[in-house]
Amino acid sequence: MTPPVNTFVNTFVNSPVASNEKLILALPKGRILSAIAPILRRAEIEPEDAFFDADSRQLQFATGDPNVDIIRVRSFDTATFLAFGAAHLAVSGSDVLMEFDHPEIYAPVNLDVGHCHLAVAAPAEVAANEDPQRWSHLRVATKYPNVTRRYFAARGVQAECIKLNGALELAPNLGLCRRIVDLVQTGGTLRANGLVEIDRIAEVSARLAVNRTALKTRPEPMNDLIGRFREAARAA
């Protein structure tokens, strides 16, 4: 029998991070929030009311779980907060995780919401009159320079990426470039701007991603949250 005093000592020394330190969950701003809200509710980490108030200037919010706080950041910043360990968990699009492919980040749960895909698109007449086999160098406007470079490099093509943060569909028509790599949901925006999809790079959906160090140094609360998100996503 282990004397109780030793048990206490072991438990104490075994928790490298104080167990009362809150876990930070980073959520992306924007439309995806409404799709995530039911999952948060089922996972019992419903945010305080101010979180859903678009006018609120607050950036960090309490939740139904006293050990979890939520921060609201731009979608591309979720991966940055996570990689640095400033957030322990994040809801990120798989597009963002592909762009910041980093061994410090795991993506254990597919939340199965926010479905869309990453695609290469070009003006209809460009797409109709060319042979992709002959490409050697292309200029591509995109929010995803790493994904774009990797995709074209795998096809033996050197892609010169122009990083834009929005309104990509304008770029080909105004002569900035002839091709774009962007997220496509319904294809409506592409059609409205006279563009057609040339190739689909990857299917995209929202993921629960976690920081490696947090998972390894605080396995119990992290695995518990991962399990709750997994159940919540399944119940949808």
Binding site: V9, N10, V13, N14, S15, P16, V17, T80, A83, F84, G85, L97, H102, P103, E104, I105, Y106, A107, P108, V109, N110, D112, R207, T213, L215, K216, T217, P219, E220, N223, R230
Partner: protein, 394 residues
């Protein structure tokens, strides 16, 4: 005015990822390295010092292959051959062991400390020059060797005062051994690999086919050692994977027996960043440090198909983050004209002396200006209190 500023900026600017380390940090780092090296030496690990630059071909052998895309290269004007600035020291120590120390008795225990350079910096790891301290245990394939290298690393870190240590143990060969048994196209295996690396349970369930029960169990088992070992015990595995897992259990038990209070987690599926390892590998974490402080594991040394070695590398920048700032050594301002014997006695008592080179009107103010903690006045070392000093001298 603005010209001077620009000129100062131009002279002070360093290339990205390189920095000057100032007092007291440079001194702290040097003391830390010596304290760690002393622990390694006490366990019979002898220090070697390879050169900063050597031929590219030798730097890219064996465990060095992964550094290929981050090696600074330059042409040797003497031999007309390409040289590289080391991006890792393990490969250099392995080279020494397999050449100059080929006939030294095995197992061979070597340790090292030094700067390494890499061409690429990321937002997450902006430093291009980092300081490594490490040890290699060459020529023993045993579980005892795996455990010894981990225990020596843990002991050295504890000895320098790192608190809240946490050890993550893995076997990077396990998942490849499981996947080798799958009759699936290479492209599917690669997708499955990527899913396992990201711990993406849903994708693994979808892609794993016949390996699904084993892979999902391996994913779920990641966590504290006792729960993990219990989950892994009854798994039906191919022989090679079984052997890898048995070794993980043995090493975990040995380490836990010596360090019963160490937090140990197991991750049977980790592989990213550990690709060159051929057996047990590990990461070390500590409270208050955002990434790992060190890592290590078993690998195959350069140009030696049957050889085996295990070792670890600690990153000094990270270890320093885990440590409280040390109490600075008292600095005593010794006014001009004080006898050399008095100053020598202060140094013998463990204080640093700062010699006045010309008479000072106000020795206390002079001591403060030179960032001394004390001033030598009338045969006594008086503390220099900044605030009190200004009040006392009208």
């Amino acid at each position: 005015m603005s010209d001077t500023l620009t000129d100062l900026g131009r002279r002070a600017l360093l290339p990205a990822g390189l920095r000057d380390i100032l007092p007291p940090n440079a001194g702290n780092e040097a003391r830390l390295i010596e304290a760690l090296m002393a622990r390694l030496a006490a366990h019979g690990y002898e220090r070697v010092k390879p050169p900063l630059i050597e031929f590219e071909t030798s730097l890219l052998e064996g465990p060095g292959a992964v550094t290929s895309d981050r090696l600074f290269r330059l042409m040797d004007p003497m031999s007309q051959r390409m040289m590289g600035v080391r991006a890792d020291m393990t490969v250099q120590v392995a080279r020494i062991a397999s050449t100059r120390l080929k006939n030294a008795g095995r197992p061979l225990r070597l340790c090292y400390a030094g700067e390494v350079l890499r061409t690429v910096a990321s937002q997450l790891n902006p430093e291009r020059e980092v300081v490594q301290v490490g040890a290699e245990l060459i020529g023993s394939p045993t579980a005892e060797a795996d455990a010894e290298i981990i225990l020596v690393a843990v002991e050295a870190l504890k000895a320098v005062g790192v608190g809240g240590l946490s050890l993550d143990l893995m076997v990077p060969t396990l998942v490849p051994a499981v996947l080798a048994g799958l009759a699936a196209p290479a492209e599917d295996i690669a997708r499955l690999r990527a899913a396992v690396d990201r711990k993406d349970m849903a994708a693994v369930e979808e892609l794993a086919g016949a390996a699904r029960p084993v892979l999902t169990r391996l994913l779920e088992a990641s966590g504290r050692k006792d729960a993990a070992l219990a989950m892994l015990a009854g798994l039906d595995l191919p022989d090679e994977a079984r052997a890898a897992l048995d070794r993980l259990t043995q090493v975990t038990d040995r380490v836990a027996a010596v360090e019963p209070t160490l937090a140990i987690t197991l991750d049977p599926v980790e592989n990213r960043g550990f690709e060159y390892h051929t057996g047990i590998a590990f990461s070390l974490f500590a409270r208050g440090v955002r990434g790992e402080m060190g890592r290590g594991g078993r690998y195959r040394p350069n140009g030696d198909e049957t050889g085996t070695a295990t070792g670890f590398t600690l990153y000094m920048e990270r270890v320093l983050q885990a440590l409280p700032s040390p109490t600075p050594r008292p600095r005593v301002y010794v006014p001009y004209g004080t006898s050399r014997d008095e100053a020598a006695a202060l140094r013998a008592a463990g204080r640093a002396t700062v010699q006045g080179l010309e008479p000072a009107v106000d020795p206390v103010a002079e001591a403060r200006r030179l960032e001394c903690s004390h001033v030598w006045l009338e045969g006594r070392a008086e503390p220099v209190d900044a605030e009190q000093g200004t009040r006392d001298t009208p």
